[in-house]
Symmetry: C2
Subunit: 92 residues, 2 copies
């Protein structure tokens, strides 16, 4: 899936993978939210999950690998919370 | 994406979509966990998210649409928690 550092054997080391796509009302909103969340994305070292966070037009894309269910829940909750805060701050 | 009842305009009504795939150690484990979670899946009416929950060999697949970020978090947390409970009960 082209994730950073994803050279390991996914079947053994990263049994969970997936993608979430969020469509924003327009590209400008998507860009502002993306840059806000990107700051968090780049600040946090994850050890039990690997995340690609991408902007494509008016869509935010989160691609992930996780070692276990709990790691995934923690990671997704963080990203979805950051995105919500960024959107709320724009009053979209 | 072939989701149940997903006839609406995704761009407007369901701005979030995605998929999570979980690989279990073998098909028998996957089947037992799947059937356990399927019971919950079929018991709960969701209004702000739509979920397809599938078994393919030793993989559980959750495909989803959501109206908003909060709906997605709630839904994914439920599914990931049910899966964790089912796995823990097998002592995998």
């Amino acid at each position: 899936m082209g994730l950073q550092g994803g050279a390991g054997n996914k079947e053994e080391a990263w049994p969970i993978e997936g993608v979430i796509e969020l469509e924003l009302p327009n590209e400008e909103t998507a860009r502002v939210v993306y840059e806000s969340v990107l700051y968090e994305h780049e600040s946090v070292p994850y050890r039990r999950s690997r995340i690609d966070f991408l902007l494509e037009g008016n869509r935010l894309i989160i691609r992930f690998l996780a070692k276990d269910n709990s790691a995934l829940r923690g990671t997704l909750n963080s990203y979805l919370r950051w995105i919500k805060v960024a959107i709320d701050s724009l009053e979209v």
